[in-house]
């Protein structure tokens, strides 16, 4: 009897470890049902930088390179990239036998057309494309990219999956021009093909049987991709509680962006696994209007930073401390651009009396600090309320202005006459400093001091990682000197997945990148 008990315990532990490790055997079939919080604007990921959009689109489209779990670029549709000794001519060999979802084989002309359109209109192309002098097809499977000067993060740009150079058929990109591709033109090379977009309801993808996967080990978006599920269906479920109840009821297999304080509702439910997305996190921030008004005074910005208690701000936005951490660095620990010694003595000072003195010394005379925020971005709104009270306590004259998201975006981006001092937002991890939008003089905040102008050029010209990292540290030092934005910390999102989904989603086996992806998962 005792032996039987021991055997049962051993077998039980073995089974439990299998479950924990997500180590069940892959099998084909079924529909993966995912509830996302809002309906995407477009799946044309050359044009959009939305995370919701990317979560769906990265199952359909691929680029020449893709990021592994460490955000290092790896060949995807390319087999490799050779740079000539001058570093200005990049020869890209593309894979043969890769088929678009319309059955047509991908050729160099498709790559040239896609890169050209992305270069002209793409969301993240500007820094690279300003250096591109030509892009040509050398033969059916070779593309040559000619630059005016070396560009260190070239493969990183080609791998970027947020507003990056995804490869589409030539005819479709030429027809689309600078408009987003219409749904009928969602033709990619990925493991799933686009089937249907039912407005207000769902987007349906199904396995593409002619998909040709790499056979290198899976890591992040790179390596082997297996479409085990027959279909992926993405439902638009705006209500947080509806997503929560939906996964509890078995209506959905995976739900995103559950408010952190609802975690208790699923704890103890053996059918649901909570996933904390902390690699990478998102970074809540207040953009600062560096272009005009009171915030062109660096002393006043430093005083505002001194007033802020980041713990209270993060608590207001993200609740339980297991869902956030304080971090003055632009990037989170674990990202290779993380700068651990940043902001010491400047970040999270939380000293309103000192801030008041600093502001007076800087010449502050009660000018209004206009804070704008979108009321439907709950975390940002909550943080704006707390920041308002902390700045008021330090003697600032603060006006909190709440808008709907579209109005907020319009006001935030009004470059000619921005009527705000702080705009609450957040940013996602970028794989390279040159993709950090806040370094761009045209991005909201309009940081364009003489020193940043020099540094952002230099960081793009260098090719050695060590040298680039040192330059990035200089930029971060300048960040805490000129305060182009107020970074509050790192925030982790809560997603939920049914425990009968195999593949180790959210573990080291299937690292959730900037946006999720659903190949290499199966139904147990």
């Amino acid at each position: 009897m005792r032996l039987r008990g021991i055997v049962l315990v051993v077998v039980g532990l073995a089974l439990a470890s299998l479950v924990v490790a997500g180590a069940s055997e892959p099998r084909y079939g079924g529909t993966f049902r995912c509830a996302i919080a809002s309906e995407p604007g477009t799946l044309d990921m050359q044009m959009s930088t939305g995370v919701n959009e990317g979560t769906i689109a990265c199952n359909v489209f691929q680029g020449l390179f893709s990021f592994d779990a460490d955000f290092a670029p790896q060949p995807e549709l390319a087999t490799g990239l050779e740079l000539d000794p001058s570093g200005t001519v990049a020869t890209i060999h593309i894979r043969q036998g890769v088929f678009f979802h319309n059955g047509q084989e991908m050729k160099a002309e498709d790559v040239v057309a896609s890169l050209t359109r992305w270069g002209q209109y793409g969301a993240t192309a500007k820094a690279l494309w300003s250096l591109v002098t030509a892009v040509n097809a050398l033969d059916e499977y070779t593309v040559v990219l000619t630059l005016s000067q070396p560009f260190g993060p070239l493969t990183t740009y080609l791998a970027n999956d947020v507003g990056g150079p995804f490869i589409y058929p030539k005819a479709l990109v030429e027809a689309a021009g600078n408009k987003p591709l219409p749904p009928a033109s969602y033709i990619g090379t990925g493991p799933y093909r686009f089937v249907e977009w039912k407005s207000g309801d769902y987007i349906l993808l199904e396995r593409y049987d002619r998909f040709v996967s790499l056979d290198t080990p899976s890591s992040g978006h790179a390596g082997k991709k297996a479409a085990y599920f027959d279909k992926l269906q993405f439902f638009f479920v705006p209500d947080d509680n509806a997503r929560l109840v939906g996964i509890q009821a078995g209506t959905y297999d995976y739900v995103v962006d559950i408010p952190n304080d609802l975690l208790a509702s699923v704890q103890g439910d053996k059918n649901i696994l909570p996933i904390t997305i902390n690699h990478p996190p998102i970074y809540p921030i207040a953009l600062v209007n560096n272009k005009q008004g009171i915030c062109t005074n660096i002393g006043i910005k430093q005083a505002m930073l001194t007033a802020l208690d980041m713990s209270d701000i993060m608590l207001a936005g993200y609740g339980d401390p297991q869902f956030w951490s304080l971090n003055p660095s632009y990037f989170a620990p674990g990202i290779r651009w993380y700068t651990p010694d940043e902001g010491v003595g400047l970040y999270n000072v939380a000293d309103p009396a000192k801030a008041r003195t600093m502001a007076q010394a800087a010449g502050y005379k009660g000018e209004p600090i206009r804070i704008i925020v979108a009321g439907d971005m709950t975390a940002q709104y909550n943080q704006a309320v707390v920041v308002t009270s902390q700045l008021v306590a330090a003697g600032f004259n603060v006006s909190l202005q709440v808008y709907d998201k579209a109005t907020f975006m319009a006001r935030r981006n009004a470059k000619d006459n921005p009527e705000w001092e702080l705009a609450f937002s957040f940013y996602s991890t970028t794989p390279d400093p040159s993709l950090v939008l806040m370094l761009s003089p045209t991005y909201a905040g309009w940081w364009d001091s003489p020193r940043i102008q020099v540094l952002r050029t230099e960081v793009n010209q260098l090719t050695d990682f060590g040298a680039r990292y040192a330059k990035w540290q200089e930029i971060m030092d300048l960040w805490y000197e000129e305060i182009p934005a107020l970074k509050f910390g790192d925030a982790f999102q809560l997603h939920l997945i049914r425990s009968d989904i195999g593949g180790g989603y959210g573990t080291s086996q299937h690292v959730v990148m900037i946006h999720g992806y659903f190949y290499n998962l199966w139904e147990d």
């Binding site: 044009m47 408009k179 987003p180 207000g200 209500d239 509806a242 509890q248 009821a249 109005t407």
Partner: protein, 315 residues
Amino acid sequence: MGPYLLRRGAGMLVSCVLVITITFLLMELIPGDPAAVLLGPDATPEQVDALRASWGLDRPGIVRYGFYIRNILRGELGRSVFLDQPVLKMIGERAETSLLLGLLSLLVVVGLGVSAGITAALRPRTWTDSALLFVALLGASLPSFWLGLMLMIAFAGRLHWFPSSGFSSIFGAGGLANLRNLVLPALSLGFVNAALVARTSRSSMLDVLQAEYVTTARAKGLAENVVIAKHALRNAAIPILTVVSFTFASLVSGAVVTENVFALPGVGSLIVQSVLKRDYPTIQGVMLAVAIFYVLVNFATDMLYAFLDPRIRYR
């Protein structure tokens, strides 16, 4: 009848032109544009400007208004800037959900509201009357989203009797069984809206039951159920019909919160999503469709008045 229909048609046309114009002006007045929403928070202003220009949004408002009116006269409502689909097709897809939700909710509204109102009127100032009035007050006070969430948690999350959210066409896979998805939203919408109908039914019936012709009917020895059904209810029906018809119109086009909670692809959520995204062609198209729907419901109500009360004649 002919002149009456002509007058109604002209009135409907004026209503629609007003709706189109007011919607257009409102969208001109509020900040925000679809390009910024579509391109996401990381887009540069140059990108946003280029996309706006490609959609023609950089043209003066009066020019765009002229184009829009011209397209309507050609029978085109335009295309959604986000989905690149004809707005008319999108409205058609959403209309099924909204109409079915509206009809199911109406069943709850009429079933609960009218029967509760009549029951309360037949037993005025009794325990039954007080209890029904209390329930009606409760219904009017409950936010529909809260009731919807409670129903969802209980019947979808715990008991698994109904799906938690979403809806697929009854003409597709699943057929009529897909109506199960609308049971919880219809209950939450119906219960909240039944309160007004119950109170209207009660007061209307109370008025009629005190009328002399009801006393006469009773004096003639007619059975009580005949007195109520044939003489009282028919005469009390006009105010009830007015409330029910406007409730139906608002259930079909304005169930935004419930559609949001239950992730239903209806017309109400289409309006809100289009406004939030500044999808101008869709906003204008849906508002026009809703205006036409209201006018038609109004017209149908007028016709029903004449059916219920033969003294009413339209000329």
